[in-house]
Protein backbone atom coordinates (compact mmCIF):
# COMPACT_ATOMS: atom_id res chain seq x y z
CA UNK A 1 0.00 0.00 0.00
CA UNK A 2 1.26 3.46 -0.86
CA UNK A 3 1.83 5.54 2.26
CA UNK A 4 3.25 8.71 0.78
CA UNK A 5 2.96 10.04 -2.69
CA UNK A 6 4.36 13.27 -4.08
CA UNK A 7 3.50 14.27 -7.63
CA UNK A 8 5.32 17.07 -9.43
CA UNK A 9 5.89 18.92 -6.17
CA UNK A 10 7.57 22.32 -6.25
CA UNK A 11 8.61 24.96 -3.74
CA UNK A 12 9.96 28.49 -4.11
CA UNK A 13 11.54 30.71 -1.47
CA UNK A 14 10.84 34.15 -2.88
CA UNK A 15 12.51 34.22 -6.27
CA UNK A 16 14.53 31.06 -5.61
CA UNK A 17 13.12 27.82 -7.00
CA UNK A 18 14.28 25.30 -4.43
CA UNK A 19 12.32 22.37 -5.78
CA UNK A 20 10.53 21.73 -9.05
CA UNK A 21 8.55 18.79 -10.44
CA UNK A 22 9.69 16.19 -7.92
CA UNK A 23 7.72 12.95 -7.65
CA UNK A 24 8.22 10.28 -5.04
CA UNK A 25 6.33 7.26 -3.80
CA UNK A 26 6.81 5.27 -0.60
CA UNK A 27 5.02 2.02 0.10
CA UNK A 28 4.73 -0.07 3.25
CA UNK A 29 7.78 -2.22 3.92
CA UNK A 30 9.80 -0.41 1.28
CA UNK A 31 12.82 1.85 1.42
CA UNK A 32 12.81 4.69 -1.05
CA UNK A 33 16.12 6.50 -1.30
CA UNK A 34 16.51 10.13 -2.29
CA UNK A 35 20.02 10.91 -3.48
CA UNK A 36 21.48 14.27 -4.22
CA UNK A 37 24.44 16.52 -3.72
CA UNK A 38 24.52 19.53 -1.41
CA UNK A 39 21.95 22.04 -2.58
CA UNK A 40 20.04 19.50 -4.66
CA UNK A 41 16.86 20.20 -2.73
CA UNK A 42 16.95 17.25 -0.34
CA UNK A 43 16.32 19.30 2.78
CA UNK A 44 13.49 21.24 1.12
CA UNK A 45 11.88 17.93 0.19
CA UNK A 46 12.20 16.70 3.77
CA UNK A 47 10.71 19.87 5.15
CA UNK A 48 7.68 19.51 2.90
CA UNK A 49 7.17 15.86 3.84
CA UNK A 50 7.68 16.61 7.55
CA UNK A 51 5.28 19.56 7.58
CA UNK A 52 7.84 22.29 8.33
CA UNK A 53 7.18 23.95 4.94
CA UNK A 54 4.24 23.82 2.55
CA UNK A 55 4.63 22.96 -1.10
CA UNK A 56 3.58 25.56 -3.72
CA UNK A 57 2.98 23.20 -6.63
CA UNK A 58 1.96 19.63 -7.21
CA UNK A 59 0.18 17.16 -4.98
CA UNK A 60 1.16 15.56 -1.68
CA UNK A 61 -0.88 12.52 -0.70
CA UNK A 62 -0.71 10.65 2.59
CA UNK A 63 -2.48 7.29 2.45
CA UNK A 64 -4.48 8.52 -0.50
CA UNK A 65 -5.60 11.85 1.01
CA UNK A 66 -4.26 15.06 -0.46
CA UNK A 67 -2.70 17.23 2.26
CA UNK A 68 -1.00 20.56 2.82
CA UNK A 69 0.70 20.23 6.17
CA UNK A 70 0.82 23.28 8.42
CA UNK A 71 3.03 21.90 11.17
CA UNK A 72 5.21 18.91 12.08
CA UNK A 73 2.46 17.93 14.53
CA UNK A 74 0.05 17.35 11.62
CA UNK A 75 2.61 15.13 9.88
CA UNK A 76 3.14 13.15 13.08
CA UNK A 77 -0.60 12.75 13.57
CA UNK A 78 -0.77 11.22 10.09
CA UNK A 79 2.01 8.77 10.93
CA UNK A 80 4.91 10.55 9.25
CA UNK A 81 7.93 10.64 11.57
CA UNK A 82 11.08 12.47 10.57
CA UNK A 83 14.50 11.83 12.05
CA UNK A 84 16.81 14.74 11.36
CA UNK A 85 20.52 14.49 10.99
CA UNK A 86 21.46 17.13 13.53
CA UNK A 87 18.31 17.99 15.42
CA UNK A 88 16.87 14.63 16.23
CA UNK A 89 17.20 15.16 19.96
CA UNK A 90 17.82 17.71 22.74
CA UNK A 91 21.38 16.89 23.90
CA UNK A 92 21.12 17.92 27.56
CA UNK A 93 17.91 16.03 28.24
CA UNK A 94 17.95 12.45 29.54
CA UNK A 95 17.36 9.65 27.05
CA UNK A 96 13.90 8.83 28.39
CA UNK A 97 12.73 12.45 28.26
CA UNK A 98 13.93 12.71 24.67
CA UNK A 99 12.28 9.43 23.81
CA UNK A 100 8.86 10.74 24.83
CA UNK A 101 9.34 14.38 23.85
CA UNK A 102 6.17 15.68 22.25
CA UNK A 103 4.32 12.45 23.09
CA UNK A 104 4.62 12.31 26.87
CA UNK A 105 2.67 9.81 28.91
CA UNK A 106 0.09 11.18 31.30
CA UNK A 107 -2.42 13.95 30.68
CA UNK A 108 -0.51 16.64 32.55
CA UNK A 109 1.50 14.84 35.22
CA UNK A 110 4.12 12.56 33.72
CA UNK A 111 4.01 8.85 34.46
CA UNK A 112 7.77 8.80 34.95
CA UNK A 113 8.38 5.17 36.06
CA UNK A 114 6.39 3.90 33.08
CA UNK A 115 8.12 6.30 30.69
CA UNK A 116 11.53 5.12 31.92
CA UNK A 117 10.73 1.44 31.59
CA UNK A 118 8.99 1.77 28.22
CA UNK A 119 11.90 3.76 26.84
CA UNK A 120 14.33 1.11 28.07
CA UNK A 121 12.23 -1.73 26.61
CA UNK A 122 11.59 -0.06 23.27
CA UNK A 123 15.31 0.57 22.89
CA UNK A 124 16.13 -3.01 23.92
CA UNK A 125 13.72 -4.33 21.29
CA UNK A 126 15.74 -2.47 18.69
CA UNK A 127 18.89 -3.97 20.17
CA UNK A 128 20.01 -0.86 22.06
CA UNK A 129 20.89 -1.79 25.63
CA UNK A 130 21.11 1.30 27.80
CA UNK A 131 21.62 0.65 31.49
CA UNK A 132 20.95 4.26 32.41
CA UNK A 133 18.19 6.00 30.46
CA UNK A 134 18.78 9.02 32.72
CA UNK A 135 21.97 10.01 31.03
CA UNK A 136 21.82 13.06 28.79
CA UNK A 137 21.32 11.87 25.22
CA UNK A 138 24.22 14.12 24.21
CA UNK A 139 26.60 11.66 25.87
CA UNK A 140 25.63 8.94 23.37
CA UNK A 141 27.53 8.53 20.11
CA UNK A 142 26.06 9.85 16.87
CA UNK A 143 25.02 6.37 15.75
CA UNK A 144 23.35 5.66 19.08
CA UNK A 145 21.41 8.91 18.91
CA UNK A 146 20.14 8.06 15.43
CA UNK A 147 19.09 4.63 16.65
CA UNK A 148 17.25 6.11 19.63
CA UNK A 149 15.42 8.46 17.28
CA UNK A 150 14.49 5.59 14.95
CA UNK A 151 13.37 3.42 17.87
CA UNK A 152 11.26 6.34 19.07
CA UNK A 153 9.53 6.69 15.70
CA UNK A 154 8.89 2.94 15.49
CA UNK A 155 7.53 2.85 19.02
CA UNK A 156 5.09 5.69 18.43
CA UNK A 157 3.49 3.85 15.56
CA UNK A 158 4.93 5.82 12.70
CA UNK A 159 3.83 4.37 9.36
CA UNK A 160 6.39 6.23 7.34
CA UNK A 161 9.86 7.16 8.51
CA UNK A 162 11.84 9.97 6.90
CA UNK A 163 15.55 9.77 7.62
CA UNK A 164 17.72 12.78 6.83
CA UNK A 165 21.32 11.72 6.12
CA UNK A 166 21.35 9.21 8.99
CA UNK A 167 24.88 8.06 8.17
CA UNK A 168 26.45 11.36 7.13
CA UNK A 169 28.48 12.04 10.26
CA UNK A 170 29.22 8.42 11.13
CA UNK A 171 32.11 6.04 10.67
CA UNK A 172 31.83 2.86 8.64
CA UNK A 173 30.93 0.59 11.54
CA UNK A 174 28.31 2.90 13.06
CA UNK A 175 26.81 3.55 9.62
CA UNK A 176 26.34 -0.19 9.25
CA UNK A 177 24.57 -0.36 12.61
CA UNK A 178 22.23 2.49 11.68
CA UNK A 179 21.42 0.87 8.35
CA UNK A 180 20.55 -2.33 10.21
CA UNK A 181 17.96 -0.38 12.18
CA UNK A 182 16.65 1.15 9.00
CA UNK A 183 16.19 -2.38 7.65
CA UNK A 184 14.58 -3.41 10.94
CA UNK A 185 12.09 -0.56 10.62
CA UNK A 186 11.31 -1.70 7.06
CA UNK A 187 10.80 -5.26 8.26
CA UNK A 188 8.40 -3.92 10.87
CA UNK A 189 6.25 -2.74 7.95
CA UNK A 190 7.19 0.93 7.84
CA UNK A 191 7.73 2.83 4.66
CA UNK A 192 11.12 4.55 4.75
CA UNK A 193 12.36 7.61 2.90
CA UNK A 194 16.13 7.50 3.20
CA UNK A 195 17.81 10.73 2.22
CA UNK A 196 21.52 10.49 1.63
CA UNK A 197 24.38 11.52 -0.60
CA UNK A 198 26.08 8.15 -0.22
CA UNK A 199 25.08 5.75 -3.05
CA UNK A 200 26.78 2.81 -1.34
CA UNK A 201 24.65 3.17 1.78
CA UNK A 202 21.54 3.73 -0.32
CA UNK A 203 22.16 0.66 -2.47
CA UNK A 204 22.64 -1.56 0.60
CA UNK A 205 19.02 -1.12 1.67
CA UNK A 206 17.08 0.78 -1.01
CA UNK A 207 14.19 -0.51 -3.12
CA UNK A 208 13.85 2.61 -5.23
CA UNK A 209 16.21 5.47 -6.00
CA UNK A 210 15.27 9.03 -6.82
CA UNK A 211 18.05 11.38 -7.83
CA UNK A 212 17.83 15.12 -7.28
CA UNK A 213 19.94 17.75 -8.94
CA UNK A 214 19.57 21.50 -8.44
CA UNK A 215 16.01 21.10 -7.24
CA UNK A 216 14.86 18.88 -10.09
CA UNK A 217 14.52 15.15 -10.59
CA UNK A 218 17.56 13.75 -12.35
CA UNK A 219 16.34 10.15 -12.40
CA UNK A 220 14.00 7.68 -10.75
CA UNK A 221 14.87 4.01 -10.82
CA UNK A 222 13.62 0.84 -9.18
CA UNK A 223 16.38 -1.33 -7.74
CA UNK A 224 16.03 -3.75 -10.67
CA UNK A 225 16.65 -0.93 -13.12
CA UNK A 226 20.01 0.31 -11.89
CA UNK A 227 23.30 -1.13 -10.67
CA UNK A 228 25.48 0.27 -7.90
CA UNK A 229 28.02 1.35 -10.52
CA UNK A 230 25.40 3.27 -12.47
CA UNK A 231 24.01 4.81 -9.29
CA UNK A 232 27.48 5.85 -8.17
CA UNK A 233 28.25 7.35 -11.54
CA UNK A 234 24.96 9.25 -11.63
CA UNK A 235 25.48 10.50 -8.09
CA UNK A 236 29.05 11.48 -8.78
CA UNK A 237 27.78 13.73 -11.53
CA UNK A 238 27.35 11.45 -14.56
CA UNK A 239 28.09 13.46 -17.68
CA UNK A 240 29.40 16.36 -15.58
CA UNK A 241 32.00 14.02 -14.16
CA UNK A 242 33.09 12.82 -17.60
CA UNK A 243 33.52 16.43 -18.66
CA UNK A 244 35.45 17.23 -15.50
CA UNK A 245 37.80 14.32 -15.97
CA UNK A 246 38.34 15.45 -19.53
CA UNK A 247 39.23 18.96 -18.36
CA UNK A 248 41.47 17.71 -15.61
CA UNK A 249 43.20 15.31 -17.97
CA UNK A 250 44.16 18.15 -20.26
CA UNK A 251 45.86 20.27 -17.68
CA UNK A 252 49.51 19.37 -18.07
CA UNK A 253 51.66 20.97 -15.34
CA UNK A 254 54.21 22.07 -17.91
CA UNK A 255 51.63 24.04 -19.87
CA UNK A 256 50.39 25.86 -16.79
CA UNK A 257 51.41 29.53 -16.77
CA UNK A 258 53.94 30.31 -14.04
CA UNK A 259 52.39 31.82 -10.93
Amino acid sequence: MTLLELTEVGKSYGAVRALEGVSLEVAEGRISCVLGDNGAGKSTLIKIIAGLHQHDEGRYLIAGDEVRLGSPRQALDRGIATVYQDLAVVPLMPVWRNFFLGAELGSFRLDIPRMRSIAREALARMGIELRDVDRPIGTLSGGQRQCVAIARAVHFGARALVLDEPTAALGVKQSGVVLKYVAAARDAGLGVVLITHNPHHAYLVGDHFTLLKRGRMAGSHPRSGISLEQLTTEMAGGSDLAELSHELGRSDPKERPPT
Binding site: L110, M126, R131, D132
Partner: protein, 344 residues
Protein backbone atom coordinates in the same frame (compact mmCIF):
# COMPACT_ATOMS: atom_id res chain seq x y z
CA UNK B 1 18.40 -8.69 16.58
CA UNK B 2 21.81 -8.32 18.08
CA UNK B 3 24.07 -5.33 17.88
CA UNK B 4 27.82 -5.07 18.24
CA UNK B 5 28.52 -4.70 21.92
CA UNK B 6 31.00 -1.88 21.60
CA UNK B 7 28.63 0.31 19.62
CA UNK B 8 25.29 0.15 21.27
CA UNK B 9 25.79 -1.15 24.75
CA UNK B 10 26.17 1.25 27.59
CA UNK B 11 29.38 -0.18 28.97
CA UNK B 12 30.49 2.75 31.10
CA UNK B 13 29.82 2.76 34.82
CA UNK B 14 26.68 4.52 35.98
CA UNK B 15 28.26 7.83 36.87
CA UNK B 16 25.95 10.28 35.19
CA UNK B 17 23.48 10.64 38.02
CA UNK B 18 24.92 13.98 39.08
CA UNK B 19 23.96 15.47 35.74
CA UNK B 20 20.38 15.43 36.89
CA UNK B 21 21.29 17.54 39.92
CA UNK B 22 22.13 21.02 38.63
CA UNK B 23 21.56 22.49 42.10
CA UNK B 24 24.37 20.50 43.74
CA UNK B 25 26.91 23.32 43.41
CA UNK B 26 24.44 25.82 44.88
CA UNK B 27 23.72 23.48 47.80
CA UNK B 28 27.41 23.21 48.67
CA UNK B 29 27.82 26.98 48.32
CA UNK B 30 24.75 27.65 50.51
CA UNK B 31 26.08 25.35 53.24
CA UNK B 32 29.50 27.03 53.04
CA UNK B 33 28.03 30.53 53.27
CA UNK B 34 25.82 29.48 56.18
CA UNK B 35 28.74 27.95 58.11
CA UNK B 36 30.93 30.95 57.32
CA UNK B 37 28.52 33.55 58.71
CA UNK B 38 27.60 31.30 61.65
CA UNK B 39 31.24 31.51 62.68
CA UNK B 40 32.08 35.15 61.87
CA UNK B 41 28.77 36.78 62.91
CA UNK B 42 27.59 35.74 66.33
CA UNK B 43 24.10 37.19 65.91
CA UNK B 44 23.60 35.31 62.62
CA UNK B 45 21.98 32.27 64.24
CA UNK B 46 19.46 34.17 66.38
CA UNK B 47 15.83 33.49 65.41
CA UNK B 48 15.28 37.18 64.60
CA UNK B 49 18.24 37.15 62.22
CA UNK B 50 17.09 33.95 60.56
CA UNK B 51 13.66 35.51 60.02
CA UNK B 52 15.30 38.56 58.43
CA UNK B 53 17.52 36.43 56.20
CA UNK B 54 14.57 34.32 55.07
CA UNK B 55 12.53 37.44 54.32
CA UNK B 56 15.34 38.92 52.20
CA UNK B 57 15.73 35.58 50.42
CA UNK B 58 12.00 35.26 49.80
CA UNK B 59 11.64 38.64 48.08
CA UNK B 60 14.29 37.51 45.60
CA UNK B 61 13.25 33.86 45.58
CA UNK B 62 9.62 34.50 44.60
CA UNK B 63 10.86 35.99 41.32
CA UNK B 64 13.83 33.65 40.93
CA UNK B 65 11.42 30.71 40.48
CA UNK B 66 9.77 31.93 37.25
CA UNK B 67 12.98 33.57 36.04
CA UNK B 68 14.79 30.23 36.44
CA UNK B 69 12.03 28.38 34.58
CA UNK B 70 12.24 30.98 31.83
CA UNK B 71 16.02 30.62 31.63
CA UNK B 72 15.71 26.84 31.41
CA UNK B 73 13.28 27.57 28.58
CA UNK B 74 16.08 29.53 26.93
CA UNK B 75 14.89 33.11 27.45
CA UNK B 76 15.47 36.17 29.63
CA UNK B 77 13.10 38.69 31.13
CA UNK B 78 14.78 42.00 31.87
CA UNK B 79 11.40 43.57 32.62
CA UNK B 80 10.83 41.29 35.64
CA UNK B 81 12.15 43.82 38.19
CA UNK B 82 10.10 46.83 37.13
CA UNK B 83 7.05 44.67 36.38
CA UNK B 84 6.88 44.05 40.15
CA UNK B 85 6.60 47.80 40.71
CA UNK B 86 4.10 48.13 37.87
CA UNK B 87 1.73 45.66 39.51
CA UNK B 88 2.03 47.38 42.90
CA UNK B 89 1.40 50.81 41.33
CA UNK B 90 -1.56 49.55 39.29
CA UNK B 91 -3.16 47.89 42.27
CA UNK B 92 -2.75 50.97 44.47
CA UNK B 93 -3.89 53.54 41.93
CA UNK B 94 -6.89 51.56 40.69
CA UNK B 95 -8.19 51.03 44.22
CA UNK B 96 -7.52 54.63 45.25
CA UNK B 97 -8.90 56.32 42.14
CA UNK B 98 -12.03 54.17 42.00
CA UNK B 99 -12.41 54.25 45.79
CA UNK B 100 -13.06 50.55 45.45
CA UNK B 101 -12.16 47.81 47.88
CA UNK B 102 -8.49 46.94 47.48
CA UNK B 103 -9.34 43.55 45.96
CA UNK B 104 -10.42 45.34 42.79
CA UNK B 105 -6.94 46.80 42.39
CA UNK B 106 -5.41 43.43 43.24
CA UNK B 107 -7.36 41.67 40.50
CA UNK B 108 -6.85 44.41 37.90
CA UNK B 109 -3.11 44.36 38.59
CA UNK B 110 -3.11 40.58 38.12
CA UNK B 111 -4.60 41.12 34.67
CA UNK B 112 -1.96 43.78 33.96
CA UNK B 113 0.83 41.45 35.14
CA UNK B 114 -0.39 38.62 32.91
CA UNK B 115 -0.78 41.16 30.11
CA UNK B 116 2.88 42.17 30.41
CA UNK B 117 3.85 38.49 30.36
CA UNK B 118 1.80 37.72 27.29
CA UNK B 119 3.07 40.88 25.56
CA UNK B 120 6.66 39.73 26.11
CA UNK B 121 5.84 36.23 24.87
CA UNK B 122 3.89 37.52 21.87
CA UNK B 123 6.62 39.99 20.86
CA UNK B 124 9.21 37.24 21.15
CA UNK B 125 7.21 34.84 19.00
CA UNK B 126 6.16 37.40 16.39
CA UNK B 127 9.42 39.32 15.94
CA UNK B 128 11.88 36.47 16.35
CA UNK B 129 14.18 38.95 18.08
CA UNK B 130 16.29 37.75 21.03
CA UNK B 131 14.43 38.00 24.33
CA UNK B 132 17.28 40.13 25.65
CA UNK B 133 16.28 42.90 23.22
CA UNK B 134 12.52 42.41 23.46
CA UNK B 135 12.44 42.53 27.24
CA UNK B 136 15.03 45.32 27.37
CA UNK B 137 12.46 47.26 25.38
CA UNK B 138 9.58 46.41 27.70
CA UNK B 139 11.86 47.07 30.69
CA UNK B 140 12.53 50.63 29.51
CA UNK B 141 8.90 51.21 28.58
CA UNK B 142 7.65 50.01 31.97
CA UNK B 143 10.30 52.05 33.80
CA UNK B 144 9.11 55.16 32.00
CA UNK B 145 5.43 54.34 32.32
CA UNK B 146 5.74 53.63 36.06
CA UNK B 147 7.10 57.14 36.67
CA UNK B 148 5.02 58.90 34.04
CA UNK B 149 1.62 57.46 34.96
CA UNK B 150 2.24 57.83 38.70
CA UNK B 151 3.13 61.52 38.29
CA UNK B 152 0.07 62.07 36.09
CA UNK B 153 -2.30 60.40 38.53
CA UNK B 154 -0.83 61.27 41.92
CA UNK B 155 1.16 64.40 41.12
CA UNK B 156 4.18 62.89 42.92
CA UNK B 157 6.52 59.96 42.36
CA UNK B 158 4.78 57.80 44.94
CA UNK B 159 1.22 56.56 45.32
CA UNK B 160 -1.26 57.74 47.93
CA UNK B 161 -1.52 55.62 51.10
CA UNK B 162 -4.33 53.09 50.90
CA UNK B 163 -3.99 51.67 54.43
CA UNK B 164 -7.45 52.90 55.52
CA UNK B 165 -9.28 51.51 52.53
CA UNK B 166 -11.79 48.71 52.60
CA UNK B 167 -10.28 45.29 51.98
CA UNK B 168 -6.79 46.37 53.00
CA UNK B 169 -6.77 44.11 56.05
CA UNK B 170 -7.59 40.93 54.15
CA UNK B 171 -5.12 41.79 51.37
CA UNK B 172 -2.51 42.56 54.00
CA UNK B 173 -3.15 39.18 55.57
CA UNK B 174 -2.70 37.36 52.28
CA UNK B 175 0.37 39.18 51.01
CA UNK B 176 2.12 40.86 53.94
CA UNK B 177 1.17 39.24 57.24
CA UNK B 178 3.67 37.67 59.58
CA UNK B 179 3.53 35.31 62.47
CA UNK B 180 5.92 34.02 65.04
CA UNK B 181 6.73 30.41 65.84
CA UNK B 182 9.11 29.93 68.75
CA UNK B 183 10.77 33.32 68.34
CA UNK B 184 11.13 32.90 64.57
CA UNK B 185 9.07 35.52 62.74
CA UNK B 186 8.08 34.42 59.26
CA UNK B 187 6.54 36.79 56.72
CA UNK B 188 3.88 35.75 54.22
CA UNK B 189 6.42 36.02 51.41
CA UNK B 190 8.33 33.06 52.87
CA UNK B 191 5.24 30.85 52.49
CA UNK B 192 4.55 32.17 49.00
CA UNK B 193 8.18 31.46 48.15
CA UNK B 194 8.07 27.90 49.48
CA UNK B 195 4.80 27.24 47.69
CA UNK B 196 6.12 28.60 44.40
CA UNK B 197 9.34 26.58 44.68
CA UNK B 198 7.40 23.36 45.27
CA UNK B 199 4.94 24.14 42.48
CA UNK B 200 7.62 25.29 40.03
CA UNK B 201 9.85 22.31 40.72
CA UNK B 202 6.92 19.92 40.36
CA UNK B 203 5.91 21.47 37.05
CA UNK B 204 9.48 21.35 35.75
CA UNK B 205 10.31 17.79 36.74
CA UNK B 206 7.01 15.96 36.84
CA UNK B 207 4.78 17.34 34.11
CA UNK B 208 4.53 17.29 30.35
CA UNK B 209 4.89 21.08 30.32
CA UNK B 210 8.14 20.73 32.28
CA UNK B 211 9.49 18.38 29.63
CA UNK B 212 8.67 21.04 27.05
CA UNK B 213 10.48 23.73 29.09
CA UNK B 214 13.71 21.71 28.99
CA UNK B 215 13.21 21.00 25.30
CA UNK B 216 12.51 24.54 24.05
CA UNK B 217 15.53 25.78 25.99
CA UNK B 218 17.81 22.91 25.03
CA UNK B 219 17.05 22.91 21.31
CA UNK B 220 14.01 24.80 20.09
CA UNK B 221 14.30 23.46 16.53
CA UNK B 222 14.40 19.84 17.70
CA UNK B 223 11.48 20.49 20.04
CA UNK B 224 9.42 22.02 17.23
CA UNK B 225 10.25 19.11 14.96
CA UNK B 226 8.77 16.58 17.39
CA UNK B 227 5.63 18.64 17.84
CA UNK B 228 6.30 20.73 20.97
CA UNK B 229 4.46 24.09 20.77
CA UNK B 230 7.55 26.24 21.26
CA UNK B 231 5.98 29.71 21.17
CA UNK B 232 3.12 28.69 23.48
CA UNK B 233 5.53 27.14 25.98
CA UNK B 234 7.64 30.30 26.13
CA UNK B 235 4.58 32.54 26.43
CA UNK B 236 3.38 30.45 29.38
CA UNK B 237 6.76 30.96 31.03
CA UNK B 238 6.42 34.74 30.62
CA UNK B 239 2.94 34.50 32.13
CA UNK B 240 4.56 32.76 35.09
CA UNK B 241 6.97 35.67 35.50
CA UNK B 242 3.98 38.04 35.34
CA UNK B 243 2.09 36.10 37.99
CA UNK B 244 5.02 36.05 40.43
CA UNK B 245 5.71 39.76 39.79
CA UNK B 246 2.10 40.33 40.80
CA UNK B 247 2.55 38.35 44.05
CA UNK B 248 5.67 40.30 45.01
CA UNK B 249 4.20 43.62 43.90
CA UNK B 250 1.12 43.11 46.09
CA UNK B 251 3.40 42.24 49.00
CA UNK B 252 5.32 45.50 48.59
CA UNK B 253 2.09 47.49 48.37
CA UNK B 254 0.36 45.93 51.36
CA UNK B 255 3.37 45.91 53.62
CA UNK B 256 4.44 49.52 52.94
CA UNK B 257 1.05 51.06 52.14
CA UNK B 258 2.56 53.32 49.44
CA UNK B 259 4.74 52.52 46.44
CA UNK B 260 7.69 54.46 45.04
CA UNK B 261 7.36 54.46 41.25
CA UNK B 262 11.10 54.29 40.56
CA UNK B 263 11.63 51.02 42.43
CA UNK B 264 12.53 47.66 40.97
CA UNK B 265 15.17 48.75 38.47
CA UNK B 266 18.18 46.41 38.70
CA UNK B 267 16.33 43.64 40.52
CA UNK B 268 15.85 41.72 37.27
CA UNK B 269 19.59 41.07 37.26
CA UNK B 270 19.54 39.81 40.84
CA UNK B 271 16.82 37.29 39.90
CA UNK B 272 18.98 36.10 37.03
CA UNK B 273 22.00 35.89 39.35
CA UNK B 274 20.00 33.72 41.76
CA UNK B 275 18.94 31.43 38.91
CA UNK B 276 22.50 31.11 37.58
CA UNK B 277 23.96 30.45 41.04
CA UNK B 278 21.24 27.82 41.33
CA UNK B 279 22.60 25.98 38.30
CA UNK B 280 20.68 27.46 35.35
CA UNK B 281 22.61 27.67 32.10
CA UNK B 282 22.57 31.10 30.45
CA UNK B 283 21.96 29.31 27.16
CA UNK B 284 18.95 27.37 28.44
CA UNK B 285 17.96 23.73 28.60
CA UNK B 286 19.44 23.03 32.00
CA UNK B 287 18.75 24.21 35.53
CA UNK B 288 16.66 23.78 38.63
CA UNK B 289 13.93 25.58 40.55
CA UNK B 290 15.25 24.34 43.89
CA UNK B 291 18.63 25.70 42.79
CA UNK B 292 17.10 29.14 42.25
CA UNK B 293 15.80 28.99 45.83
CA UNK B 294 19.29 28.14 47.05
CA UNK B 295 20.61 31.05 44.99
CA UNK B 296 18.07 33.36 46.63
CA UNK B 297 19.01 31.95 50.05
CA UNK B 298 22.70 32.63 49.38
CA UNK B 299 21.70 36.17 48.42
CA UNK B 300 19.72 36.60 51.65
CA UNK B 301 22.38 35.08 53.90
CA UNK B 302 25.16 37.16 52.35
CA UNK B 303 23.36 40.49 52.23
CA UNK B 304 22.27 40.23 55.88
CA UNK B 305 25.27 38.23 57.11
CA UNK B 306 27.64 41.01 56.12
CA UNK B 307 25.56 43.40 58.25
CA UNK B 308 25.50 41.00 61.23
CA UNK B 309 29.25 40.58 60.91
CA UNK B 310 29.44 44.40 61.05
CA UNK B 311 31.37 44.68 57.85
CA UNK B 312 31.02 47.36 55.23
CA UNK B 313 27.94 46.29 53.22
CA UNK B 314 29.60 47.67 50.07
CA UNK B 315 31.43 44.37 49.78
CA UNK B 316 28.18 42.48 49.28
CA UNK B 317 27.95 43.12 45.56
CA UNK B 318 31.61 42.19 45.12
CA UNK B 319 30.97 38.87 46.78
CA UNK B 320 27.81 38.28 44.76
CA UNK B 321 29.63 38.97 41.50
CA UNK B 322 32.43 36.53 42.36
CA UNK B 323 29.82 33.94 43.26
CA UNK B 324 28.09 34.45 39.92
CA UNK B 325 31.29 33.97 37.95
CA UNK B 326 32.15 30.79 39.84
CA UNK B 327 28.65 29.43 39.33
CA UNK B 328 28.62 30.25 35.62
CA UNK B 329 32.00 28.50 35.18
CA UNK B 330 30.76 25.44 37.04
CA UNK B 331 27.57 25.36 34.95
CA UNK B 332 29.38 25.55 31.64
CA UNK B 333 31.74 22.80 32.78
CA UNK B 334 28.76 20.61 33.65
CA UNK B 335 27.19 21.38 30.28
CA UNK B 336 30.31 20.45 28.36
CA UNK B 337 30.52 17.17 30.24
CA UNK B 338 26.87 16.44 29.59
CA UNK B 339 27.13 17.14 25.88
CA UNK B 340 30.43 15.52 25.11
CA UNK B 341 30.22 12.75 27.61
CA UNK B 342 32.96 11.74 30.03
CA UNK B 343 36.10 10.28 28.56
CA UNK B 344 35.19 11.11 25.01
Amino acid sequence: MSAPQDVLTDTGPVRHRHHSRPELGALLAAVAVFLFFSVVAESFLRPASIGTVLYAASTIGIMAVPVALLMIGGEFDLSAGVAVTTTALTSSMISYQLTAITWVGVLVSLAVALGIGSLNGWLLARTGLPSFIVTLGTFLMLTGANLGVTKLVSGTVSTKPIGDMQGFASCHWLFASQFTVGGLTLKATVWWWLGLVVLGSWILLRTRFGNWIFAVGGDAAAARAVGVPVARTKTCLYLGVGFCAWVLGQHLLFSFDTVQSGEGVGNELIYIVAAVIGGCLITGGYGSVVGSALGALIFGMTSKGIVYAQWNPDWFKFFLGAMLLLAALLNSYVKRRAERGPGR
